[in-house]
């Protein structure tokens, strides 16, 4: 318990604070200055002070190697009884006799430091961890454990390093947390949390994400994202089997354990305030072509395929080029009209922490407001931009009821209000491509005879009330409010049972949580107009007049509304026995047995099965033994029940064992201890389980007795209609747990007490993965389909196997040049690669290239593009490409034929000629590195983050279309195949007005390397008495081969809410 902890391990007395504070760091450094209380606060408590003449007053700050203040460090004037203790901010003030006095700084778990007072008024000390300390603890599943005795792969997170420019904690995970693969796909306020996986992906089932436990209770990603770093007391990541076996039912994908802060025994409460203001702007702005280019390319696309669609006239092209009239010859940049270049955000936190021996408290209020970059419309009284406001209130109380009984209560309210356009922001971006620059203006000038807005449109569409879509109108013609709240409360009793036997305690936890969401959407219809006729002036240099005609039936433009509700409630009960004792001074034993049960009910179920409560039940236990903290042994088990299986298969047993050996504590190692202060080897092996899938009651058959597709009508009057059943799922009583076997080999190394290094190698072999059966032929009749309906009948089985392996490592280094200049360096590296070993699929005897086996989960199935066709002659001499209905022309993509199992090539290119990509969209490698410097009152830090071994597939950005007139992205117009640019490696193939599946199908032509390296953070801070001011930039630049959009957003069209570059200016105050 390195940072900020004052408690000392005592194996027989009950120590509550230790549990809540927890341990904070393994590896870290970098600018923990920000959080929670790094300021040069003054004043300090002082111990008994002998008043002497010629005394010198010295103040200073004591921190750990990462810069986090240490509380409760004892400072003694050597050879006297004069001593003080650092306060909650790590500050002290001491008056010593003379400049020759020596001060001794000591702290449990840290190497003591002796310094001469000299003539300094300020003496700041950085203490380094004594890695051989036995006192340090880490948070593990259902409790904590002496760090030295841990054999599993558990990472404690330096919360201070989790700098979040957005209001989502998870966006800071990538590169900061060894063993976590994380990518941020969207920059949309309120939806910009990162996707993250502990040690990558080990299953193709629907549950890939880790279990999140906040204050002992299962929580959602949204709850994790809502936590301000100031609120977090400890944060651990459980990666291997000994760490996760306890959470049998849910631990297979790893566990994140977060505990919020608690109060402490202080004579004066500490108040911490942080206010931050940010400017956000897209990392990259999508560029479309101008109107003239659009029309020229459209005409080319039409004539290129000889389709007979109407061309844009030369008159219109010239009129647009000369800007003759914004209504007759519009030239609209829809993207610019719909989106701003940037937005503001505000972020504030206030926390109070204090208490006495009997009662302590921690209260925190956070406020976030994020604005989006959708433009406010000028036409209506409501806003179309989005704004997300969030309030998080956390109250934690601990009360020592009797000397052996402690009660702890926590209350959390998490409120979120979303205001925005009627359509989601991501849809607004997606729709921006539907407006091309020239077909219509945004709106026509008001007509005094008409009391509504005459929006621009174009007739002839099959959809949208006969008019082609006007994306601006879609965005502004209504607004939406969503209010969401998560209220949770927990009550925790800990009873020390040493009167039964020393070292025994009992804990009971009850928790309730309610999530509710209400969404109200107000939408109005609109009337679209188009220019039906116009007249030139006499010399044809300007438009004299035009007529705008309404396209379809007149619509009411008043708002109407719709609303939706959602929510659930969760009740969690836990009872736990703990045992912890040392025998014969060297045999340290702990034991733990816990019973858990959990129930979640949906507040507004949509189906009958969804209306049933979701329940889980389990018993878990842990036994650890250590001899002299040299030889370590640990065993865990989880015995868990799940509703998802038939009664006989309901329960799963998941054991794990681990061993550890701390070489550096051996006698023979002593000579090396100067250099190698810690060397520990770890190995674990265990089973973990997963029972969850997006589908509930997977074992159970499901039938809809009267299904609309299964109906027929008879009668002379054709009025006797009956509907029969549809089978949605056939029962499979044999279904059982998905099981993972996890192996972990780890090494912890500390050199010179300066360099921390940890590396873990892992393998996760997952079998019995849930899968609906894929290999049942149609002739058995289970899943009939026609073009109108697809009566898929699911049959679940334990049918898949995946192997996931890799490594994660982290390194921290700290160097102090002198009292004014200190530097630290940190780096993490995570590599996780997976491969499907078994999958229920047709055996693809003839086309093994279509089998998913041997490929990573999520690999892209695609054609192999050769290049573009040169001319008709080449097409006639090539194999027919049976991919789309369109006639192949020069400049279309030419694909390669793929040999079948016998090495033979068939006589056409079709779906059998596809292969899987090497990597998926999820990166296999995530890394980060950075450095911090502290110079006098300044601090600087910089952090880079990267991803590698990832491939993204571009799709959905193609211009024009069968029923659409989609816009053209700039990069297409820059380099596309045409008669005048017959480049067979052009960025874009021959244009086509109609959807051309031959060119748009997933293929290597559109596959891109999604690797990137980002300057994720750069920060400069200045410390004053009670406050720190800082300026931070996030996502400052990206280096990547992929240029069209931020590769972290993933594949697709790039037409989604872009990731944001953020500049924050913040100030933090601490009062006491």
């Amino acid at each position: 318990m390195k940072k900020g902890s004052t408690t000392k391990r005592n194996s027989t007395t009950f120590d509550f604070q230790r549990k809540l504070k927890g341990k904070v760091i393994l590896m870290t450094i970098v600018s923990a200055l920000l959080f929670p209380v790094t300021i040069m606060a003054s004043t300090a408590t002082s111990g008994p002070e002998s008043v002497q003449q010629a005394s010198i007053k010295i103040t200073g700050l004591v921190t750990d190697s990462g810069g986090t203040p240490l509380i409760g460090v004892t400072i003694v004037e050597k050879g006297t009884t004069n001593g003080v203790v650092t306060d909650i901010d790590g500050r002290y003030t001491i008056t010593v006799k003379s400049s020759s006095s020596e001060l001794v700084f000591s702290y449990i778990g840290y190497t003591a430091v002796t310094e001469q007072a000299g003539n300094r008024k300020e003496l700041n000390i950085r203490m380094t961890e004594d890695s051989t300390s036995l006192e340090e603890v880490v948070v593990v599943g259902f409790g904590q454990q002496a760090k030295v005795s841990v054999v599993g792969s558990i990472q404690s997170v330096d919360v201070g390093a989790l700098k979040t420019p957005s209001s989502n904690l998870s966006t800071s995970f990538a590169g900061q947390l060894a063993g976590v693969i994380a990518v941020q796909r969207s920059g949309e306020p309120g939806a910009d949390g990162a996707d993250f996986w502990i040690r990558g992906i080990s299953t193709f089932g629907s549950m890939k994400s880790p279990l999140i436990v906040i204050d002992g209770v299962k929580a959602s990603t949204a709850e994790l994202n809502a936590l301000d770093p100031e609120m977090i007391g400890s944060f651990s990541i459980l990666k291997d089997a000994t760490a996760t076996a306890l959470y049998g039912s849910r631990g297979a994908n790893g566990v994140m354990i977060v505990n919020t802060k608690s109060g402490r025994d202080l004579d004066k409460a500490i108040v911490n305030v942080r206010v931050e203001s940010s400017y956000t702007a897209p990392t990259k702005v999508t560029k479309f072509v101008d109107g003239v280019t659009y029309m020229q390319m459209f005409n080319e696309a039409v004539t290129a395929r000889n389709l007979g669609d109407k061309l844009y006239s030369q008159e219109k092209i010239d009129g647009t080029r000369n800007n003759l009239d914004p209504y007759v010859f519009p030239n609209v940049n829809w993207y610019d009209e719909m989106f701003k270049s940037g937005a503001m955000a505000t972020n504030a936190n206030l926390s109070i922490r204090g208490g006495s021996k009997k009662l302590d408290y921690f209260s925190s209020v956070s406020f976030n407001q994020d604005q989006g970059i959708l433009r406010n419309n000028k036409e209506f009284s409501y806003d179309s931009d989005l704004s997300v406001q969030r309030y998080v209130i956390q109250n934690n109380f601990n009360y020592q009821v009797t000397p052996t009984t402690k009660v702890s209560a926590k209350l959390n309210a998490n409120l979120r209000e979303y205001k925005g356009s009627r359509m989601s922001a991501s849809d607004a971006f997606r729709y921006s491509v539907y407006g091309n620059p020239v077909d219509f203006p945004i709106r026509f000038p008001d007509d005094p005879e008409i009391n509504y807005i005459r929006w621009g449109g174009k007739s002839g569409s099959r959809y949208y009330n006969e008019s082609f879509i006007n994306p601006y109108v879609e965005m502004v013609r209504g607004y939406k409010n969503t209010f969401e709240s998560i209220i949770s409360g927990s009550f925790d009793v800990i009873q020390d049972l040493h009167f039964i036997t020393p070292g025994l305690s009992l804990n009971g936890l009850f928790s309730f949580k309610n999530w509710s969401q209400t969404e109200v959407s107000r939408t109005a219809s609109n009337n679209a107009f188009e220019v039906s006729d116009y007249t030139w002036n006499a010399d044809r240099t300007a438009i004299e007049s035009y007529t705008a005609k309404r396209i379809a039936k007149e619509q009411d433009t008043q708002l109407s509304y719709s609303y939706g509700m959602n929510g659930n409630r969760q009740i969690y009960i836990q009872g736990m026995l703990n045992y912890e004792r040392t025998f014969a001074s060297k045999n340290y034993v702990t034991g733990m047995l816990v019973y858990t049960q959990e129930e979640i009910q949906t507040n507004k179920p949509e189906t009958f099965l969804a209306s049933l409560p979701q329940r889980k039940q389990g018993i878990s236990g842990r036994l650890t033994y250590s001899y002299d903290y040299k030889y370590l042994l640990e065993a865990n088990f989880g015995y868990n029940g799940s509703e998802n299986f038939a009664p006989k298969n309901r329960w799963g047993f998941f054991p794990s064992v681990g061993v550890g050996y701390i070489v550096s504590r051996e006698k023979f190692f002593e000579p090396l201890n100067k250099v190698v202060s810690n060397l520990k080897l770890r190995a674990t092996l265990g089973m973990v389980g997963n029972s969850d899938d997006a589908t509930r009651f997977m074992y159970l058959g499901q039938i809809e007795l009267q299904n609309g597709n299964m109906s027929y009508t008879t009668g002379v009057q054709q009025n006797y209609g009956l509907s029969g059943p549809a089978y949605t799922r056939f029962s499979n009583p044999n279904l059982t747990w998905e099981v993972g076997r996890k192996i972990n080999l780890g090494l912890d190394l500390n050199l010179w007490n300066r360099l921390d290094f940890t590396v873990d190698l892992f393998q996760d072999y997952r079998k019995n993965i849930f899968l609906t059966r894929q290999s049942v032929p149609d002739i058995l009749g289970f899943s009939p389909r026609n073009i109108w309906w697809n009566q898929t009948t699911q049959i679940f089985g334990n049918l898949g196997e995946v192997e996931n392996k890799g490594m994660d490592m982290s390194m921290d280094y700290f160097h102090e040049f002198n009292h004014d200049l200190k530097m630290s360096f940190k780096g993490t590296f995570t590599w996780a690669t997976n491969k499907i070993l078994d999958y229920d699929e047709p055996d693809f005897q003839q086309y093994p290239n279509l089998s998913r086996v041997g490929h990573p989960v999520g690999a892209h199935l695609m054609y192999v593009a050769d290049r573009l066709f040169i001319d008709e002659a080449e097409i006639n001499n090539s194999l027919p490409q049976n991919i789309s209905g369109i006639t192949i022309r020069p400049g279309d993509i030419k694909y390669k034929n793929i040999a079948d199992a016998d090495g033979k090539y068939d006589n056409q290119i079709d779906a059998n000629d596809r292969i899987y990509s090497k990597y998926s969209q999820t990166p296999e490698i995530i890394y980060g590195f950075g450095t911090s410097a502290f110079y006098k009152k300044f601090d600087f830090s910089i952090f880079f983050q990267g991803a590698a071994r990832t491939q993204i597939m571009m799709s959905g950005f193609h211009p024009f279309g069968n029923d659409e007139t989609r816009n053209i992205l700039k990069f297409i117009s820059d380099d596309y195949w045409s008669e005048s640019n017959p480049n067979i490696y052009a960025a874009y193939p021959r244009l086509s007005k109609l959807d051309n599946d031959n060119n748009t199908a997933a293929s290597t032509y559109w596959l891109r390397d999604g690797s990137f390296l980002k300057l994720k953070n750069a920060e400069i801070g200045y410390n004053l008495k009670l406050m720190r001011i800082y300026l931070r930039g996030t996502n400052l630049f990206t280096i990547s081969k992929f240029k069209h959009w931020d590769p972290e957003q993933g594949g697709g069209s790039g037409l989604s809410y872009p990731t944001q570059r953020v500049i924050n200016l913040g100030v933090q105050f601490t009062f006491r």
Partner: protein
């Protein structure tokens, strides 16, 4: 010791709460057994078996691929753009085998339905058997030799037990026997409410149709296409009959006559309705022959010609909205159903002869010369044709009978800038300069509700033409002429011998041509054309290249009345496309299943 007892008690307390904590699903959850809980559930189950009959009037995939008309709407099936891995609209394999499973589930469970009378149980079984036969027949005509499913397969059936394709004649025998078995317990007529469900006549007529296909060139001795391919992967036996067998035509002839008798005894007769201008509802067509052609099965209350029909209702995206001419002021008429020039030429002249064989008709070079139709300009090709032409084809300056404003018929105008012309439409325009009137009720109103009618799967006129075709092939030429004349007389077309007198000798070859053309005319827009051309092995000539139409980009009469290619990319690979591709997944998982040749 006492301490440990205390601990144990505490632990025990924790666990007493709920052994049944995880038993969440109540017993009253819907299960597979509930589908046969009572006779009402059983009746619903029977209807769900009928649900697998493909919607015959569906413009996208049933009517959409007949070759009678051209459209941009759904072209993949006519362009030959379907393959085992991309079936496009040809999903018959999956849906019919789904229907077959369902029929077996009904047969397996119906006896256990409580408080349901035995007679109804037997009726349901008979109907399920009829559907089993019908679904297998449809698969047979589409895919050739098929796996015959004889039971409800269990979910965990091992791959080695998956059935493979049976030789064609075994399939036919199995289906034919199944029709016979169903016939035993089917009623002569279904009650008014149940009209549309199978009857004895249905079983007989569909059996006759099975044998018509069996005897036809595609399946009867087709060594040309299938001598070297389409074999059982295990034994190497050819699946398709390679030797022509005349007795199959004999059977087709016998069964067709049996079906005619069955139909007659059930009171089924040709529609002979008369126009009723007096009522004022639908005064057009006022010509009695045109009325009969136009109203045949559309006159729901009075028609008695249907032997088997799809009695479901036409939907918003159904045939009538797609076929009717657009209304300038909006509405739901999309005029997509554009008959090809081939279909237009297919109809006889007023003398009952093909246009190129009628010595009195315009010579080919004059077809597109301008002429007058009821006082308005059109081209010669539209003049002096038989009543069915005027009842079913809407041409430039011809009439379209439907409700529009105060009018009960309108003139259709198809030059580019005309009201029904292409104008600037990218779709929803006639691609040939014609529209189909057949199947659009004269009471159709673009803004009102659709008037429904049962869409024929088998009607008496077709059965007569099956008799006629089988009679030609078995050389019973006088019977052939007799049955052809029944159809012609009802339509106001001169009898065969009258029409052809002095023009050609009526031998077997000539009568074969006449009966084929009569089918093409009488069953126009009923979904039969491409299937017929496939079984006659003439499909590659019929839809192997783009269809023709008039020049819809023509603004003036001179520009418009001109033969033009309709660029819809029709293709038909022979012999590949004569049979449909089997879904790749089924071929992949079932070693006994061979793919059709060419795919």
């Amino acid at each position: 010791m006492k301490k440990y007892i205390q601990i144990l008690m505490i632990v025990a307390l924790l666990f007493t709460y709920s052994c049944n904590y995880l038993d969440i699903v109540p017993d009253e959850t819907a299960t597979e057994e509930d589908a046969f809980a009572d006779r009402y559930a059983a009746e619903r189950y029977l209807y769900s078996c009928y649900a697998f009959i493909p919607q015959e009037a569906n413009v996208f995939y049933m009517l959409g691929s007949t070759g009678d008309w051209a459209t941009l709407m759904e072209v993949a099936s006519m362009q030959g753009n379907y393959s085992p891995s991309n079936l496009s609209y040809y999903t018959f394999w999956s849906s019919f085998y789904g229907g077959i499973k369902r029929c077996y589930i009904l047969l397996d469970n119906i006896d256990g339905v409580p408080r349901m009378d035995e007679e109804t149980k037997e009726l349901y079984k008979a109907e399920a058997r009829f559907l089993l036969a019908y679904f297998h027949f449809f698969l047979l005509k589409a895919y050739g030799p098929i796996p015959i499913i004889e039971k409800n397969f269990a979910m965990d059936t091992p791959n080695s037990d998956y059935p493979g394709r049976r030789i064609f004649d075994e399939c036919v025998k199995w289906i034919s026997d199944m029709y016979d078995m169903a016939y035993m317990d089917l009623p002569e007529r279904q009650a008014t409410t149940y009209y549309g469900r199978a009857t004895r006549a249905t079983a007989k007529a569909m059996k006759a149709k099975l044998w018509l296909y069996t005897a036809s060139p595609l399946f009867n001795g087709n060594g040309e296409f299938y001598a070297d391919e389409l074999k059982d992967p295990e034994t190497g036996t050819p699946l398709m009959p390679l030797q022509y067998d005349q007795s199959k035509w004999e059977k087709a002839y016998t069964y067709a006559l049996e079906a005619v008798n069955e139909a007659h005894s059930a009171g089924i007769s040709l529609y002979m309705g008369n126009p009723d201008p007096g009522s004022g509802n639908y005064p057009y067509p006022s010509d009695v022959n045109q009325w009969r052609a136009r109203m045949n099965f559309v006159d729901r209350a009075n028609t008695n010609e249907l032997i088997f029909a799809d009695t479901r209702n036409d939907g918003f995206y159904g045939y009538q909205n797609n076929a009717a001419p657009r209304e300038a002021s909006g509405g739901n008429a999309w005029q997509n159903v554009a008959p090809t020039l081939e279909a237009v030429k297919r109809f006889y002249t007023e003398r009952g002869l093909p246009i190129d064989e009628d010595p009195a008709y315009f010579s080919e070079g004059d077809y597109f010369q301008l002429g007058q139709y009821e006082g308005q300009t059109t081209c010669n090709l539209h003049l002096h044709r038989e009543p069915r032409f005027y009842a079913w084809i809407s041409f430039h300056n011809g009439w379209y009978e439907l409700m529009r404003g105060n009018d009960k018929r309108i003139r259709t105008l198809f030059r580019k800038n005309d009201v029904h012309g292409k104008q600037s439409y990218g779709r929803n325009y006639s691609m040939t300069g014609y529209l189909a009137k057949k199947g659009v009720h004269p009471g159709y109103n673009a803004n009102g509700s659709i008037i429904n009618y049962p869409f024929p799967i088998m009607r008496l006129a077709e059965l007569y033409l099956i008799v006629a075709e089988a009679a030609v092939e078995t050389n019973n030429l006088s019977v052939a002429i007799e049955y052809l004349d029944k159809v012609r007389v009802r339509s106001g077309v001169p009898k065969v011998e009258t029409a052809w007198e002095g023009v050609a000798t009526l031998n077997q070859v000539k009568l074969r041509q006449i009966v084929h053309q009569e089918r093409g005319i009488e069953l126009f827009m009923e979904g039969h054309s491409l299937w017929d051309h496939k079984r006659w092995k003439t499909a590659h000539l019929y839809v192997g290249s783009n269809p023709k139409g008039l020049n819809v980009d023509g603004v003036t009469d001179a520009e418009f009345f001109r033969e033009a290619e309709v660029l819809v990319g029709w293709k038909f690979a022979s012999p590949k496309n004569y049979l449909l591709p089997i879904p790749q997944k089924d071929v992949d998982v079932n070693a006994k299943l061979s793919q059709n040749p060419g795919y």
